[in-house]
């Protein structure tokens, strides 16, 4: 009997002093929960963004190229008034939208096949194939695309005898490279969303006489819009900020990132002003997405 008592676990209130301490102290509990992520968010993320924004108002000494605190809106104005800057912003926006559109176009049929038609083995193989490129380094993938499209590269070697020539490095190859880089971020959420559509919806659609395409556009797509939006946030914003793809596969194509990268040493205020452009684009994009109501359903 005594032995049994000794073996029994000690009472709970002695075993979890921290929980006991926090139980009656709601504010302290909240603080403990949020202090680490808030330190990160405010201390590192918001502050560095704020410092960047401040620099955009600073001035540069034309004689020594030194940056000094001040207040000018010239850097922001130049983003809109210098034709080269404006065209670069619009080009980058167009490219990011194109990457998003192409990724969606590939992801939806692939997702339907993987989720509804493929055998389990095939599905797993495809899932590995989609995620495999994520294991390789980002720069490695860009340089691989550079090698594929170079004059003595894969395309001309493999397709040259058929009369197909590599287009060389230009904006379209950059769009293709960016699609290659960010496609998994679109394909995976779309695949997951399609998997969650019950099979009997497809049966019902067929029973009601819808064609295959009719089913895709009137049943599948409306149901997976939140997933497409989620994926497009990645493909769109990651493309907006990229510049190495343009540098290595774009020939003389210039993106927003190229301007920031070449200004970061030469003229930091202009680089800072320019870094607000992708932020503005993404905010606008999210506001449009919110308007459609798809953010609530994410």
């Amino acid at each position: 009997m005594t032995q049994q008592i000794d073996q029994a676990p000690p009472p709970a209130k002695h075993s979890k002093p921290i929980s006991t301490f926090l139980f009656h102290r709601e504010k302290f509990r909240l603080l403990a929960l949020l202090s680490l992520p808030m330190t990160w968010l405010v201390g590192v993320y918001i502050v560095s963004l704020f410092l960047l924004l401040i620099t955009a108002f600073w001035v540069i000494n034309p004689f020594t190229s030194r940056v000094s605190p001040g207040f000018t809106l010239d850097n922001f104005i130049s983003v809109f008034t210098v034709p080269a800057y404006l065209s670069t912003s619009l080009r980058t926006l167009g490219m990011a939208l194109a990457v998003t559109a192409i990724s969606t176009l590939f992801a939806v049929p692939l997702g339907i096949f993987m989720a509804k038609l493929a055998s389990p083995l095939m599905r797993n193989l495809l899932a590995v194939a989609i995620t495999l490129p994520l294991w390789a380094g980002y720069l490695v993938k860009i340089l691989a695309m550079r090698l594929v499209f170079t004059e003595n590269g894969f395309i001309n070697w493999a397709l040259g005898p058929l009369g197909v020539a590599s287009p060389g490095f230009n904006m379209w190859v950059t769009i293709l490279t960016l699609t290659y880089l960010w496609f998994p971020y679109m394909a995976l959420p779309v695949f997951t969303a399609i998997r969650q559509i019950p099979n009997n919806l497809f049966d019902a659609s067929a029973d009601l006489g819808a064609s295959g395409f009719g089913t895709i556009f009137r049943v599948v797509v409306p149901l997976i819009v939140p997933a497409i939006i989620a994926g497009s946030v990645f493909t769109f914003s990651l493309s907006l900020g990229d510049y190495l793809a343009a540098r290595f596969t774009g020939g003389s194509t210039q993106m927003i990132g190229s301007i920031i990268a070449s200004n970061i040493n030469l003229n930091p205020p202009v680089a800072a002003a320019f870094s607000m452009v992708p932020i503005a684009f993404v905010v606008m994009y999210l506001m449009v997405a919110r308007r459609t109501g798809s953010l609530e359903r994410m």
Partner: protein, 386 residues
């Protein structure tokens, strides 16, 4: 005894400096902050923090230096002149291997100090004539830099495609170039000077006397030429490896390059030439920070690296013409290196305009106009690519 010899040698060096600075800079007087120079070498500090181009600071020669002086060498490699300027202004570094396009910016900004060449005995007669007293690092008769080496921006071409050396830069500038779409250009604002060199030859009515002293109209003409070139550019390069793969891979047929890149391309058909218009080039020198706490180590380093053997080792490692041409006679291998990079060929380098930071005061001596500054060039460069 040695002291006297050093004194005489440096006296000659100084007078040579003064003479050549008169000859090359037309006695241009620039407004620079008054930074004092040191009078004598004191005890060595413990460390030396260097910003340098890749290949300038290697254990093969720093170990001996550390043994001799006790100064531990910390090297930070920078990729571009602009990065060097930014790093130098953090005040965390003692000395920088600056090209001329960075040097004058640092000098007029008061970031570097004038040098007492009497304390650098190896800065002697053996330094190539064309690297002494140039406007990019010698201001108002005061030397700020100790030369390391130099190289020209040459026209590189793929002989298999061009069938011989182009005699003019027109293949990279004119819209009717047979190699349109396969042209490369250096991706930096200082490349505007290359356009100016071309205009000096072909459009003398613009009145460009020095490609680094452009007034507003002249800069606009150069930018127009660059915008024209933009239409036939295949790729701009700032990364040396990307440029090499572009030539070897066949995407680029003609464009600006360095001897060392042609060497690394390691392809018999890829060669360099100096076209009739002449060209620009980079002349590198050690510049010492005005706020360095390790000034004695810095002087010791500049003297050490100016010896023929060490200077030659740096030049061979990087792939450039050494500043100290006494190195060339030291061995057949050294002579071959010097010949490849035209180290002793002043006639060759007379046709090369050494990179110089453009500043508002015209470095060609004009006083009736205001020249465009490097900041103007920076802004102009970004509008070229569009």
């Amino acid at each position: 005894m040695t002291r006297t010899k050093v004194g005489v040698a440096s006296l000659i060096a100084v007078s040579a400096l003064l003479l050549s600075s008169c000859a090359t800079s037309n006695e241009v007087t620039l407004d620079v902050p008054d930074v004092p120079m040191i009078d004598e070498i004191g005890a060595f500090e413990e460390e030396l923090n260097i910003i340098n181009w890749a290949g300038f600071v290697e254990p093969a020669w720093t170990d001996q230096f550390t043994t001799d002086t006790g100064c531990t060498v910390n090297s930070r490699v920078a990729g571009t002149s602009d990065e060097m300027v930014t790093l130098m202004r953090t005040g965390q570094y003692d000395i920088v291997s600056a090209s001329g396009d960075a040097a004058l910016r640092l000098i007029v900004g008061g970031d570097v100090q004038p040098l007492n060449v009497e304390l650098i005995p190896n800065f002697s007669d053996d330094i190539a004539e064309g690297m002494k007293g140039q406007i990019y690092d010698t201001v108002n008769g005061k030397p700020y830099g100790v030369p390391i080496g130099r190289g020209a921006n040459l026209l590189q071409y793929n002989e298999d495609v061009t069938g011989g050396a182009p005699d003019s830069w027109d293949v990279v500038w004119e819209l009717d170039s047979p190699y349109a779409g396969k042209v490369t250009a250096y991706d930096a604002p200082i490349y505007i000077a290359d356009a100016a060199v071309y205009l000096m030859y072909h459009n003398p009515e613009l009145g460009i006397e020095n490609p680094y002293a452009l007034d507003e109209a002249q800069l606009a003409a150069a930018v127009d030429l660059l915008k024209q070139q933009n239409q036939i550019i295949g790729e701009y390069w700032s990364d040396a490896v990307a440029q090499i793969t572009s030539f070897v891979g066949g995407n680029t047929v003609v464009g600006t390059s360095w001897e060392v890149l042609a060497k690394f391309a390691d392809t018999p058909s890829i060669k360099t030439t100096l076209p009739k218009e002449g060209s620009t080039g980079w002349f590198d020198a050690w510049l010492v920070s005005s706020s360095t706490p390790n000034v004695n180590c810095a002087y010791a380093w500049m003297d050490y690296t100016s010896q023929p053997a060490v200077n030659g080792a740096i030049a061979m490692n990087f792939g450039m013409a050494p500043a100290n041409i006494a190195f060339c006679a030291s061995s057949p291998e050294a002579q071959a290196h010097c010949d490849l990079y035209a180290a002793e060929d002043e006639e060759f380098f007379d046709r090369i305009w050494a990179w110089t930071t453009p500043i508002e005061q015209c470095v060609d001596g004009r006083t009736d106009v205001k020249c465009t500054s490097f900041q103007d060039w920076t802004n102009a460069w970004l509008t070229v690519k569009g």
